[in-house]
């Protein structure tokens, strides 16, 4: 078997993977390789890339649907959408930028295979919620499809969601079809300064409980504000709590006003206009405040109200800088490098408060030594192993990428 391959279509992918299964040759699946340094290191004899399969194959703006081959770059997709006044609702964050990779190079199949979503996820759902259909090749070399190009489809088992977030361990998606939405006419942001985490999350959750369709709810600790690219905000030198409203201009004005009435009790409220808002939320999408160093970064998903408790508990064990998104339900925590990147303590904290933690950035030897993805409960692990075997009985696809033993 050749060590590096770029099948040109799913038939060739099928042959390559069937042969790998027959010879029990583990393969690393890649797209543009922007997330190669995320997850557990893979020990594979060959690399099979989707890169030769690119291009938008269907775009119907009036039906809010697009299809694209696996390795179509995210930037190309977003440019095509913007030309028709549309976008990907789930605002995928640029994980590549955490490990020094080039922004915007991620492939569309990679986005869905890792189920990455950004700030708007709190209102509109994750990548998996926008995936309508797939064509894929499993470890057996079988070419199969699931879902389709229509918005509503409950025909058969939902394999689209089954593959979303599976990090290339079940199958390679050769083509994806997804829902797109109109770009908002105007974006605005409300900012509160200097709030302690606990109060900040209370503000964000209160705002999410209003009828004003808040589409971003984030909080940055002062140490991370100091790393913002946006000069005006960086100079504030204190914690920033931000709420985003996106809508028609008139609605944005009205909703900002109503939201301010609700939140006035928490302190002075500043408004940020469209241009500054796009810059600020844009850099959150780039994870700007976590860039430029190689300290370990954890991505913690927890009930929003528990976010500050999780961070406080972690901070009792180690130095920790936190960026809260999803009104507190997503914590990006940067900690000081140690042999296990704090895994033992962080997982203990998570066990108390609920949720799960993934080690997104760490040296390869650390990622090889600790559980990068949250260890599963026994019952879920048994099901997950069987699921892996159903798609990939020889265990050739990205073996060990998510879990050490399957």
């Amino acid at each position: 078997m050749v060590t590096n391959m770029r099948p040109v279509d799913e038939r060739e992918f099928s042959r390559v993977l069937a042969e790998a299964t027959a010879t029990r040759t583990p393969v690393a699946l890649t797209g543009a390789g922007t997330k190669e340094r995320i997850g557990r290191p893979i020990n594979a004899a060959a690399t099979v890339s989707t890169r030769a399969m690119r291009g938008v194959t269907l775009y119907e703006p009036s039906e809010m649907v697009m299809s694209a081959r696996a390795a179509t770059p995210l930037t190309q997709i977003e440019e095509a959408l913007a030309e028709r006044g549309q976008m990907l609702a789930f605002e995928p964050v640029e994980l590549a930028s955490l490990s020094g990779g080039e922004a915007g190079q991620a492939t569309i199949a990679g986005v869905f295979a890792t189920n990455i979503a950004g700030s708007r996820r709190v209102r509109v759902g994750a990548a998996r919620d926008h995936l309508l259909g797939i064509r894929a090749v499993n470890g057996r070399g079988d070419i199969f499809k699931s879902g389709g190009r229509v918005m509503k489809n409950v025909t058969g088992v939902d394999l689209c969601r089954g593959l979303a977030g599976s990090w290339g361990t079940l199958a390679v998606m050769s083509e994806v079809t997804f829902k797109v939405v109109p770009l908002p006419e105007t974006t605005a942001t409300l900012i509160l300064l200097g709030l302690p985490d606990e109060i900040a999350i209370e503000v964000l959750c209160a705002a999410m409980g209003t009828p004003f369709e808040v589409s971003g709810a984030a909080h940055l600790q002062p140490s991370l504000v100091a790393r913002l690219w946006h000069q005006g905000l960086r100079r504030q030198g204190q914690a920033i709590t931000a709420l985003r409203i996106e809508n028609f201009a008139k609605s944005v004005t009205y909703r900002l006003g109503r939201l301010e009435q609700h939140l006035r009790v928490y302190g002075e409220i500043h408004e940020m206009d469209d241009e500054n808002s796009l810059a600020f939320w844009g850099e959150l999408r780039q994870l700007s405040v976590l860039q430029g160093n190689d300290a370990p970064v954890w991505r913690i998903s927890t009930p929003p109200g528990a976010g500050p408790k999780v961070v406080a508990a972690i901070s009792a064990y180690m130095e920790c800088r936190a960026f809260y998104d999803w009104s507190g339900g997503l914590v990006w925590a940067e900690v000081l490098p140690t042999t296990d990147a704090g895994a033992a303590d962080i997982r203990r904290v998570i066990a108390t408060h609920g949720g799960h933690a993934t080690l997104i950035r760490a040296e390869p030897q650390v990622r090889a030594a600790v559980e990068v993805f949250q260890p599963l409960e026994a019952g879920l692990e048994r099901l997950s192993r069987k699921l892996k075997a159903a798609f990939d009985p020889a265990g050739i696809l990205n073996p060990g990428r998510m879990y050490a033993n399957f």
């Binding site: 119907e60 009036s62 229509v150 918005m151 509503k152 409980g209 159903a390 998510m402």
Partner: protein, 483 residues
């Protein structure tokens, strides 16, 4: 009608009914019930797809997850099939019993366990009705978003089984987009918890696989669902057109202009007339196609949006353009739509289809549906969710006329094949059930089906759960070999 073949029941199991029922009674507490007498079982012989009827082996009405675990472990040990059931409102026969299967109906498990407004989630037992969740959080102006027409009766259990949608999912998504966590019992009795109050569950997306698995993967007993703050207001408008095709073009123009109303519902002339007679909603009687378009927001926002939609609609020369002027009018407009199936049921038996098509194909598909039904000598009324292309043609027939019933089923099959050929699918929200089982090969290849059946085998290796449904009977062996 009822041409889909049911598997031959296992006589040995049926003959042991009394002994099995006795065993089951020992497994559940005094709050729960086991029904084995014929009259009692009769109440469970069908669901909303009434053409199919089967008396179940026995019925268990459990009160706890642990009881369901004991019942499933027992059935697993003895190779007895199980059919999970909510309120029995499935339009695809998803809850149709089998003569050799125990029905486990979760309707007694209908409590709200916890409401958490800060985290915007509610934890409930799944026997609660869909509307029951919204009722429980209404005082705080919150609601649970998916809203199938049967929401007064249908359970969350069934919604999870079928990944149900509703009129407002254009904006708010369907069940799978609104459920964050599940507690479920696997066929061998193991109780597992997936996800929780956090937004993303870790590992493989088991939630995504289980939701919509039509009771074939396990029995879900509790769920953590997202609750949302209600909009400040909601207002529908009515747009009547000279043809269905023009109505469809108008929908495309609205969405293409970047407006996503919270709902866009469509009715054709026969549907309008029946619904108006029933609900007195003030629908126009002189149009071929009617759109109900609803927007949300403050008074001013709704007025602005409806004005924009009005402008976008003008080039399509609507014959009627009327904005609801009061809460009463809005309620009447929705009552007409939501009671459409019931209203049509009062004048005729009907066979309700549920295919989805790309919106751009709307005009040609509706013309073709009319031709199919004309050829069958049957009337059809079309009602559907236009924003997402989910069609509900109701084929009218007389269930006492066997020949007509057969023609209705045949016409329905042709319509679904048309939906798939147009780039759509067999079912948008009702599920495959028994009804569309043998049409699965129209949409899927053998390899596609095998990939799905292998997942069924992962969760239920002996294929005991609701196993007459979803997958064509022939060709299942390969999937079983993978176990």
């Amino acid at each position: 009608m009822a041409s889909v073949a049911l598997p031959q029941p296992d006589r040995a199991i049926v003959s042991r009914r009394d002994a099995i029922a006795e065993d089951l009674r020992r497994l559940v507490g005094p709050q729960s019930a086991v029904i084995s007498d014929e009259d009692g079982r009769r109440a469970y012989e069908t669901d909303a797809l009434t053409a199919y009827r089967q008396l179940p082996l026995a019925v268990v009405l459990p009160s706890t997850t642990e009881e369901i675990s004991r019942v499933l472990r027992y059935c697993h040990q003895h190779g007895i099939k199980v059919v999970a059931r909510g309120a029995g409102t499935s339009l695809s026969g998803g809850a149709l019993p089998a003569a050799d299967a125990v029905v486990v109906a979760v309707t007694r498990m209908n409590r709200v366990i916890e409401i958490d407004y800060m985290n915007r989630v509610a934890r409930v037992q799944v026997g609660i009705t869909n509307l029951g969740i919204s009722e429980a959080v209404k005082a705080q102006d919150f609601f649970y978003a998916p809203d199938p027409s049967s929401q007064l009766a249908c359970t969350l259990a069934g919604n999870i089984g079928m990944n149900s949608g509703g009129a407002h999912c254009l904006k708010y998504g369907v069940t799978t987009n609104n459920v964050l966590g599940l507690k479920m019992v696997l066929m061998d009795g193991e109780i597992i918890e997936i996800g929780g109050a956090h937004l993303d569950a870790p590992g493989y997306d088991l939630l995504g696989l289980v939701i919509g698995s039509e009771g074939q993967f396990g029995i879900v007993t509790e769920a953590t669902v997202r609750i949302l703050r209600s909009a400040e207001g909601a207002r529908p408008m009515l747009l009547g057109f000279d043809s269905s095709e023009i109505a469809g073009q108008c929908v495309s123009a609205i969405i293409g202009a970047g407006i996503i109303p919270v709902a866009i519902e469509f009715m054709d002339r026969p549907a309008i007339h029946v619904c108006e007679a029933f609900a007195k909603a003030g629908y126009p009687m002189d149009v071929e196609a009617l759109l109900i378009i609803e927007v949300e927001g403050s008074e001013e926002e709704m007025t602005d949006l409806l004005n924009v939609i009005t402008e976008l609609a003008k080039p399509f020369r609507p014959k009627t353009l009327r904005i609801s002027q009061s809460a009463e009018q809005s309620a009447a407009i929705w009552k007409g739509r939501k009671s459409a199936f019931g209203a049509i049921g009062r004048i005729s038996d009907y066979y309700c289809m549920d295919g989805t098509i790309p919106l751009g194909k709307l005009g040609e598909v509706l013309v073709a549906i009319t031709h199919i039904c004309d050829r069958a000598g049957l009337r059809v009324a079309n009602i559907f969710h236009a924003g997402d292309g989910n069609l509900h043609p109701l084929i009218l027939y007389d269930s006492n006329n066997a020949q007509q019933a057969e023609r209705a089923e045949q016409a329905g099959n042709e319509i679904l094949q048309l939906c798939v050929a147009s780039g759509g699918c067999l079912t948008g929200e009702h599920g495959v059930g028994i009804e569309k089982r043998d049409l699965m090969r129209v949409q899927f290849t053998e390899t596609d089906l095998l990939a799905q059946m292998r997942i069924k085998t992962v969760f239920d290796p002996k294929w005991l759960l609701n196993s007459a449904k979803v997958f064509p009977l022939e060709g299942r062996e390969a999937a079983l070999e993978a176990a």
